[in-house]
Each structure stands twice: as structure tokens, then as C-alpha cells.
Amino acid sequence: MPADTQHNDNEAEILQLLQEERTFERGFRLLLQTYQERLYWHIRKMVNLHDYTDEVLQNTFIKIYKGIKKFKGNSKLYTWLYRIATNETITFMNKVKKQKTTSLDNEESGLANTLHADSPLDGDEIQAVLEKAIATLPEKQRLVFNMRYFDDMSYKEISEILETSIGGLKASYHHAAKKIESYIKNRI
């Protein structure tokens, strides 16, 4: 069975279980098991620290739990989940930014510095530099690069999540890749 068809079948099963009060919790647990890891890494690539990621992931699934009955099925379920996770991540980052009362540039370098505070995502040194390079990117470029580079998402899917034009996304991805390459090459 093709992966896309399997994915759609899973979504349909989850949504059916969520429709009835009796099977709601089972459906929600199935949704958690299916998407928690993907959403975790999506968030973590933005906020870097595990504790931050855990907080944002919990907030994301609480929003999903409360709002799943309002999901109309106009988009794919996982696109909707990514959108909520992205919004929660941005909200969290803005909150941290406000608390630190630093400028945007300082915030970018601040997030990059958190990579030193926690263990690197990958033990490999070059992966650590890659993560640091990503952390220096502007918010939108970082989101697009992560979704494309790590999650292999199509531009159409990313545009549905970020509600941005595909042309704009391509430009963002291109700029992000060039900046990261330059950053890493200057440090190794």
C-alpha cells in the first residue's frame, strides 16, 4: 500500500474515533501516538531546548484536544496539527523574547546560544554547527528550512501550514540554505 494512502487511512480512522464521545479518548491517544514525535522535532528545531519543547508540545496537544471537534476536514489533519504547533511555537518564542526584553537579533543569537546549554541534537560536531546555523535564521526562514530539509514536506503543504505563497517559500528556502552553508563553512 502506498505511504500516502496509508496515511490518509490513519487520518480517517482517527477522525472517526474522535467523532463519538465513547471512542473519543481512544481516538485522541491514537492521534498522539501518530503525530507526537513529528511535532516534537518540528517544535524542538525552533526552540532548541527539550524543556521548552515539552511545554510547547503539551500546549499544542491541549489546543488540539479542545479544538478537534471544530476540525472541518478542509485540509489534511496533519497540516492542521502542524499549523497549531507552529502557532504555539511562535507564541512561545515571542513570550520568551518579551521576557528577555532583547532585540530580535539578540533573540536569534540567544536561541543559538541555548544549543550550548542543552546537549546537541546530534553528537556529531558538524550537526551541532548546523543546528546553530539554523538558529541564527529569521523565524520564517527557519520554519521553512526545517519543514523542507528535515520533514521532507512539499511547498504546497508548507504553504497550507504557514499560509504563505509557494513562490515566497521557495525564496525563503533558497536564502536559508545559502546562509547555513556560508555559516558552517566559516566555522569548520
Binding site: 500516502d4 541534537l121 528556502y173
Partner: protein
Amino acid sequence: MKDHKKEIAEELNEISPFLAKLKKEKKPQSGLPSNYFNNFGDRLLSRIKEEEALTPKTTANAKKDNSFWAKISWLFRPQYAIGLATMLILVVVGINMLNQTPATVVNDNPEQLLAQLSADDLNIYIDENLDEFSTEDIIETMDEQTIEQLPSTEKAFKEAKATIEKTEPIKTPSPVVEKENTIEIDDLTEEDILEILDEEEFGDEDDII
């Protein structure tokens, strides 16, 4: 899906071959507490149930009391009620003040007093005291319609001229003729005077003296 991944890989290879190579060498992500995903669901659901346990009463109450009075009950809280009462008092007082008319108004402004008179009263007064008014004053009392109804100067002049032409001119005696008929007494002799008196039939000499 495989085509989709291939397309992404090709795009990256075009933009940055360095990053494309790095992606192929990518190792599995780590840095997670052990059993994190196994426990995450339970932790999350217990948190949701705790939050629900704290909020259901308020939700139930809100659903129960959905009447009109419940909706406007906030108006009766002290902080709103005081403001509302003050506003009502001000509105009532304001309306009363607007409706109130003064019992006697002493108006001694001559222009306003004149304006209160009717046109007929004014005309009667002007007729009775015509000598006290100049032509300008009289014209001022006339309204536009009355003034328009008056004959124009030019028309009046023509009418007057036509009337004059129709009538016979008054003949005055020529001064020359008068001079010819005039008899100077110094030019007369005594006989001439007696003759004239005879012609005029004065009678006796006593009448003459």
C-alpha cells in the same frame, strides 16, 4: 512519496551541494529523555483532566442561566450600577431643563418688539404718524412684493407725459401785447382822462374822487 523526496533532494543539490551531502550523512536524532514519548500521552491526558475538573462548574452555570436577566445582571454590580444611576439622573434633569419655559419674559429690545407687530398694525401707525417718517423709513416697512407692485419711475414718467400732452396748453397773454394795451397815466392829458371816464360810465365827478 519517493518522487517527492527525490525532488527535494535534487532541489537542495542545486542550491547547496554541501548541505545535500550533509543531509545524507544525517544521524538519527537524539537528546531525548528515555521513554519520553511513551509517557507523554499519559502526562498530557492527566493534565487535561485536572484542568477540566477545575472548570466544569463555571461552564455548567453559564449554560444553566442563559436568561435575559442573567445576561444583563452585570449592570447591577455596584461599579456599573452607580455610573448607570448617575447617568439616568443627568438625563432626567437635562430633559426637564430643556422642557422648562420661563413664566414671564421681559423683552425690551425694540427690534424684537417691532417684529412682533403685524403688518396691518404697522401700516395704521405709519398712516397716523406719517410726518414722523422719512421716505426711507416707509420703504423699509414695505415688503418686497409691495415694492415690486409699485409702478417703476420710467413708467410713471411716460404715463404722466402722455396725460399732459392730451390736455390743451394754457395760453398766457404775450407781454408785448400787454405792453401795447397798457396806458401810462403820464402819457395822458386831462381831456384824455375825462374821455376814458365817460366811456367807463363812472357817473358823477364825486365818484371819481
